[in-house]
Symmetry: D2
Subunit: 382 residues, 4 copies
């Protein structure tokens, strides 16, 4: 009998890890459980994308509105409840969770408390902020670990995990990076996917991409606004066409979205274009062709290293993550950010670095998920 | 201004760790948040005990009835929600959670997701079962670690925790063990606290104490019943007066309670006495004076080692926990259990072993909680 | 295509209304959604009974432990959430809810908020306490009303419901009453179903049946205990063999169960036998053969009138319910209760009264549920 | 001792009923419990307005994101849970709920299940849709009824409520209507309150006001979009300056908001201005000065009748509500809507009608809440 695999997808980035895996799985062997932000994204969002690929989808509404620490925490609790009920309906043999966001832990708890085997993608990395706690806590629940590289494997094993359950597969998003079209499109058609409405403009080949998220552990949420404004000022002074991604729904996200609306309503020059989301292919293609990626998203460290795109990482959100040579770090200071970007613009493309994967993760993970002996108990080694 | 400390208490064992600490804290500096089993115990239960000591108590009803894996998981989700709301009302500076039960993780998540500092008692131990995952996951969230001994400290640090946040204090229940009355009471008065009803009998000085809980990760819940019956047969053959504790509310608990009722209704000899709970002092005194403690509770490994009481540990529930020389391990086989108990009865008392603490934990922990600089972010070391 | 009917069952009494209906429905046309008390009853409980009859069962764990007003209210909220998710999985055409307990309203809300047609059994009755509010609130949500008699129909219509949606079918439990075996068993074999353990004794033909539940709207929960003790004293003085049913899980139930345990442990005479539950057939047969039914359960007013069993109704719980000539009402006064019981013992059996149904409700309701045009909107008439 | 009154506020319209009441209450006698949409509105929203008036505010995050029937239902369940916990913290003597939205019932349940007295404003009205069921269900729970007029009182009493608990006070929003400034402002300054960003323009004295909400009981959510577009076409053809309010968060709200964004991005003429919200004074002043109010909001029937503003009510959402002579009803047909608006523009202002209140409701309700004897049980009369 086919093994039943459930992938738990809380946002667009999660699905970008899942899609390269399910490509190698028979359609009747898996189910996508969509929850949190992924369940409520606007039309044109990740849910539409998933529905195009498969009918094996369950949608759980677990996000409590408010975008603050309390609602983030309550949403996690509600997600545990809803996932538990869903797992009784689905009865998968193994649940796969991704990375380190607050809601991913809900899925890990639901699976393992109910004696279902758990696989984790992207364990052993380091970043900073609450994400570290979440990621390593999931590691302590997982029966199978699909990690990006040997450093991650080493860290997972050091935390007491059994070597035989740790697989260095690379990160599946690198699979997508590897398969991006070679020729750079001179005109980017930005369609409904982009959020508010259809919009088309010639991006040219000289643009920046910015992705800046709230830091949920900032003592003062206002700090996030201050930092957003510093970054905005810097980007304005650089003066290039810029694609700027909306923040995620974490605590503080609402207030940054407000800032964006304020800026948009007063913007005269119109060189900064804000977008809610792209599908993973378009997004990574936009990054690949950009002159520099700026912000505090993990994509500025992980995928950009494979793509060889110059990156300026600002603030503390990615503080612990191992960066390759394409990243310049920068505190939240306008002039420092400007200087760092200019330095990157002069430098141009870096050499491809396969630290986060070589493009074969999906196939490897699919094959292991199908065949490895599943355990429901864990033994740790010390 | 006084620092505000919130202790989260999910069961009687949790409060046995908390009581030796609050003894050293000013009454207006702490609050006890009671939830899960501790909130719903019968009158005479731990909640009554807590209410006698302090008025700073919040009671959260988070246990969803059913005593199965699904309700255990849903209860965890509901606990995250209720604790989050409670922490907004209380606004403590630091939250203290105990050990490794499923509900303790709910408290860790609620605290740290809301940027409140987290202290953890009993990190770094090893047992087996899902408890290991829960305990180490809490460690990954905790800012302060109060561990039982150097082995535990080493393990916590190996998992990436910063040495300066790990304190070898011993376990606070050992404080209670140290202060137990010296003279062995020949008659044990077992009152309302004992569960169903008032009962008084002369226990004498030749009795066993049994504590046997369901193993939630058993593939088949029936396995727990089978094991219960094996143990019961063994104890009947030993033929001594026996105090047998009811199981906890974990998945499988209901079915074991049913077994107890069945047995009670057919019991002719009446040497086995079942009890729902005692307060910690009475319980540890009963253990101290027993000839042997039998079962799969941690008390048969941890507190018994300090008390020098012979212990027979059955099955896998405590598989990884470091035991001192007073413990004989035993598979779930009737004859092996009988032989092990007989061996222990012949051996008699062991020497006190301070591996799990020397009786000064409460004072040490209280002092650190009051004075240590609290962090809200964590940095891990690798 | 077959219409899909979902019956929502929260306790044993609910299922006693549902069973006579599903008898007339094709097995693949309905589903039983079991929740609240019905989901967590001990083995031998109503869930076992349901599972014997059909596989179309969903079990939702919605009861939050504690048996107090807060947990009763929270359980209702959790039931709304779980039922909503379940209805998405099931997608029934019509949901059927029973009577007036707090959890029944949760089902009514879940169905109608999600635009599913709602049928209600036992609308238009009057009792007293919060039950009146719940029952009539459900009436305001229901699209179809299956009522016991013309008085109920009149009341439902007066509240603004459309005449064409109100069906006088009688109550389905009367169907069971009508079909009870004619010959009175002299020996009652009371088996595992009875709660704690197997028990067999000769009941004879001279016994009382007592059913006494907490009144959740008593200002002081202690009032319930006082009343319980008054009733117990009265029954002891009557001195007959007595079958006494445990109270339900409403707020206050725990404390009455405690009282029962206390009494049992001190009972010398042993004429009062406490039982957790019987299946509906056995229960109604026990009532039919009893000399008098005493307490504050609706069965002492509704089913007893059809069975012609003398009934003494105590306190306010059933204050508004229309009683037939077989009922003597009584305040919570020991001597008044004793006198009322004695009067009934002298009187003996009453004539059958078909006020609450004539035994054909199941067939009628099944037929309407299958064929009536379902509405999803409601128009009220004023 | 001062009686403690808790007002439960789920949206801006609720607070417009509460504000005229608390004006007459001592500040330490009441608390505003803010939940659902009111808790998550953007800055400048109703929560800011409330915080300016009093510090006695509790904010509960109970809205589950998604704006569909499932999330609406789940939000109701979560609201019951959160309100129950809040009422334990607050312990009010009486809870006041407003009107007929899905979340208001959650407050009614929480209060009465916990034996707290319940007052209801706006009972006995008729509209259509699920709102009727909700409103009358709340009536069945309420101990006190503050109704708009004698027709409402009659209906509430007919449903079995005791005459002595029904008070014809008028609706408190009419109090605000009565006190609006007399002189019509020629320039409307529309500030941050208006949603996205600050905006100022000369409205003049020749404009329409449109308020159109999704109908949650439409079989097909697409129906709501179709109707929105019909209305938009009609308004474009009328060609006047138009203030158009965003829809509420009910199921279907998201999709209408999307429509608005689509329209805004293609709008060349710019005569239609969309706004998220105004405070009640500004909103009612805008209505007062408008040439005609168009849509399916209750304000087009209730407040407009007192203000004498011509109103065109479209579709079924207000189907059962009693309208005064200022309202023309209209199906969702473009030409019919255009004709109805033109007819109203020609007619101009109507005479004030005090059917929904005379402007003294706040004072009357405050006085009754302070002095009336509170009941916790209900007796219904039939």
């Amino acid at each position: 009998m086919l093994r039943k695999i459930a992938f738990v997808v809380g946002n667009r980035a999660h699905f970008a890890r899942v899609r390269p895996i399910i490509k190698y799985l028979p359609d009747n062997s898996y189910r996508i459980i969509v929850f949190e932000a992924a369940a409520i994204q606007d039309h044109g969002g990740v849910l539409d994308e998933i529905n195009k690929i498969t009918n094996n989808v369950s949608v759980l509404y677990t996000n409590i509105s408010g975008s603050n620490l309390l609602t983030m925490t309550k949403s996690t609790g509600l997600a545990v409840i809803d996932l538990a009920v869903e797992l009784v309906h689905d009865r998968p043999d193994v649940v796969v969770v991704i990375a380190d966001r607050y809601e991913a832990l809900a899925a890990a708890i639901a699976a393992r408390y109910m004696n279902i085997s758990l696989a984790h993608i992207q364990g052993g990395e380091i970043t900073g902020s609450i994400d570290d706690s979440v990621r390593h806590a999931i590691t302590k629940f997982a029966n199978l670990h699909f990690v990006s590289n040997k450093d991650c494997a080493k860290r997972v094993i050091k935390m007491g995990e059994d070597k035989k359950n740790v697989f260095v597969t690379g990160c599946p998003t690198i699979d997508i990076c590897r398969r991006l079209p070679k020729n750079d499109p001179k005109e980017i058609f930005i369609s409904k996917d982009s959020g508010d409405y259809e919009k088309r403009f010639i991006l040219g080949d000289n643009y920046l991409l910015v992705s800046f998220h709230p830091v949920t552990t900032e003592k003062n949420i206002i700090e996030n606004v201050r930092n957003f404004r510093v970054l905005l000022e810097a980007i304005k002074i650089i003066g290039l066409q810029t694609i700027w991604m909306y923040p995620n729904i974490d605590a503080g996200g609402d207030i940054l979205r407000k800032e964006i609306l304020n800026f948009k309503s007063m913007d005269k020059v119109g060189k900064i274009h804000f977008f809610k989301h792209f599908n993973a292919d378009d997004y990574l293609l936009l990054i690949k062709n950009s002159k520099c990626i700026v912000g505090n998203s993990s994509v500025g460290i992980r995928e950009s290293s494979f793509l060889g795109v110059p990156s300026v990482n600002v603030g503390n959100r990615q503080i612990g993550r191992l960066r390759c040579q394409n990243v310049i770090d920068c505190s939240m200071d306008k002039n420092k950010i400007i200087n760092a970007i200019r330095k990157q613009l002069i430098h141009g493309k870096y050499k491809r670095n396969e630290y986060y994967g070589d493009g074969s993760a999906g196939k490897k993970i699919a094959s292991i998920l199908e065949k490895v002996e599943l355990e429901f108990e864990k033994r740790m080694t010390y």
